[in-house]
């Protein structure tokens, strides 16, 4: 294990929440990764300011990852630096992990977990729960995974260093994603039915709601534009009707 103290790890974890602060089209989250690594590197290169400057400069190079799993990379890089690994090896390691850390996190968090958690909160509100129950349910469920991923990522990164790829293969992210997708599909149907049955709905609206749901499923993300167009036309029609 590394020589890094608990205070250093706590500062790295805290800084990991801002890893995307300087997101840019040249180095993506490279500067953010160096910002997260800075407390560890300050300890590793204590008393050698020039080596610290060179190391921090190196780590601002292009890097990308899912933000929650950036902690895995930060932990592993801190471990490599603490073990005195050559800079070329650290750079090769960063190139090797950045793709998989992005794909793993994007699929589990953005594609499955977040929509599922949002649908849980929305379903509760549509079912008549107080606004804060829905909002809190969403935030708690979503952030349970979020906070775990950051803390766990930093811990296993530091523990496993170069071997992190093997560790990540054993983590049941795909299975967690599948379960979230199942729960999400159930909640999407539940919420859609509750929205269709809102206050003042007419019998014909059930048929229209079924068509709307089928349209939504077939359009996917493009439903946003179609809905915006329909609502804009409704506003124009309303303005015309209100004047006649």
């Amino acid at each position: 294990m590394s020589r890094l103290g608990a205070g250093v790890l706590a500062r790295m974890l805290l800084r990991s929440f801002a890893v995307q602060g300087s997101w840019n089209y040249q180095t993506l989250i490279g500067t953010g990764l160096a910002f997260v690594l800075a407390p560890a590197l300050k300890q590793v290169y204590e008393g050698d300011g020039e080596a610290l400057r060179r190391s921090l400069g190196r780590h601002t190079e292009l890097f990308n990852s899912h933000p929650y799993l950036a902690a895995v990379a930060a932990g592993a890089i801190a471990r490599l630096e603490a073990d005195g690994s050559p800079p070329e090896m650290v750079t090769r390691f960063k190139h090797a992990v950045r793709g998989s850390l992005g794909t793993l996190g994007d699929r589990l968090v953005w594609l499955m977990w977040r929509p599922m958690s949002v649908l849980l909160g929305v379903s509760l509100v549509l079912a008549g729960a107080a606004w804060w129950v829905g909002a809190l349910a969403f935030l708690l469920v979503f952030n349970a995974l979020h906070l775990w991923m950051r803390a766990w990522g930093l811990k296993i990164g530091l523990r496993d260093g170069l071997q992190i790829g093997r560790t990540l293969k054993g983590v049941p992210f795909p299975r967690m994603g599948d379960r979230a997708a199942q729960a999400g599909a159930l909640l999407a149907g539940f919420a859609a039915a509750l929205a269709a049955a809102g206050r003042g709905s007419h019998p014909w609206e059930w048929g229209a709601a079924l068509l709307a749901a089928l349209l939504g499923i077939s359009l996917g993300p493009r439903v946003r534009g179609a809905a915006a167009l329909a609502m804009a036309l409704a506003l124009v029609a309303g303005l015309v009707l209100a004047r006649t």
């Binding site: 180095t27 910002f35 929650y68």
Partner: protein, 224 residues
């Protein structure tokens, strides 16, 4: 003015924080339209009304994915403004029509917000691009935190613009005679379509679960 000056200032500052939450700092998801609109309502003392606007905007934001360097609409600050103004205006002369205007303004602002994020990321190259030979911890922190301050300011300006625009529109439009029932139905159908579109994220192969959920929803609605 529908909101007091203090409420406008509060909404503007929270708008900056909500913008940060989306990408730069935290990502606790208070920037989701569903939560941000409730926060907007909370500022004016009516969070339950704020979240009504949030549910509509959330349904239409569900399938937006911030993957890699993708360009996407920004949901938080517009939803905050819409939630605050819609809730402050409650009970309106025409509930559905007011909600419709709030949602349409928020959707337009989401596109403006997305473009401003893109512009900021190009601009951030000045601060955080081109890796230097060496960098001390102090200058590194400045390189990293300057874009965070810019993002906060961007979100605050976007929220302020949305709030003022919506306040002006709701005062300018004469809602008397609006077909409320029809507009309410269209809003509801837009929410249904948006929520159903999430099945595409989870995989259309899960349609039996979607149908089971819908059946459960119908039962709950019928019992309620």
């Amino acid at each position: 003015m529908i909101l007091t000056a203090a409420q406008v200032v509060a909404v503007t500052l929270i708008g900056g924080l909500v913008a940060l939450d989306a990408t730069s700092v935290g990502q606790f998801m208070i920037s989701r339209p569903f939560v941000a609109a409730a926060l907007g309502g909370l500022v004016v003392g009516r969070p339950a009304q704020g979240i009504v606007a949030g549910v509509v905007l959330e349904a239409l934001h569900l399938a937006v994915l911030p993957v890699g360097a993708a360009k996407y609409p920004e949901g938080g600050p517009p939803a905050l403004a819409a939630g605050a103004v819609y809730a402050a205006n409650f009970p309106p002369v025409a509930e559905a029509a007011t909600l419709l205007v709030a949602v349409l303004v928020a959707l337009a602002l989401e596109m403006v917000g997305g473009r401003s994020v893109e512009a900021m990321r190009h601009w951030n190259v000045r601060f955080a691009g081109a890796p230097p030979e060496g960098l001390a911890p102090g200058p590194l922190a400045r390189r990293h935190l300057a874009p965070v301050a810019v993002d906060f300011a961007r979100g605050a300006v976007l929220t302020l613009a949305g709030t003022l625009l919506l306040c002006w529109l709701l005062r300018a439009i004469d809602f008397s005679g609006f077909p409320e029932v029809a507009i309410g139905s269209i809003l509801r159908l837009a929410v249904v379509a948006g929520l159903a579109s999430a099945l595409r994220l989870f995989g259309r192969g899960h349609w039996p679960l979607f149908v089971a959920g819908a059946a459960a929803g119908v039962v709950v609605a019928w019992l309620g």
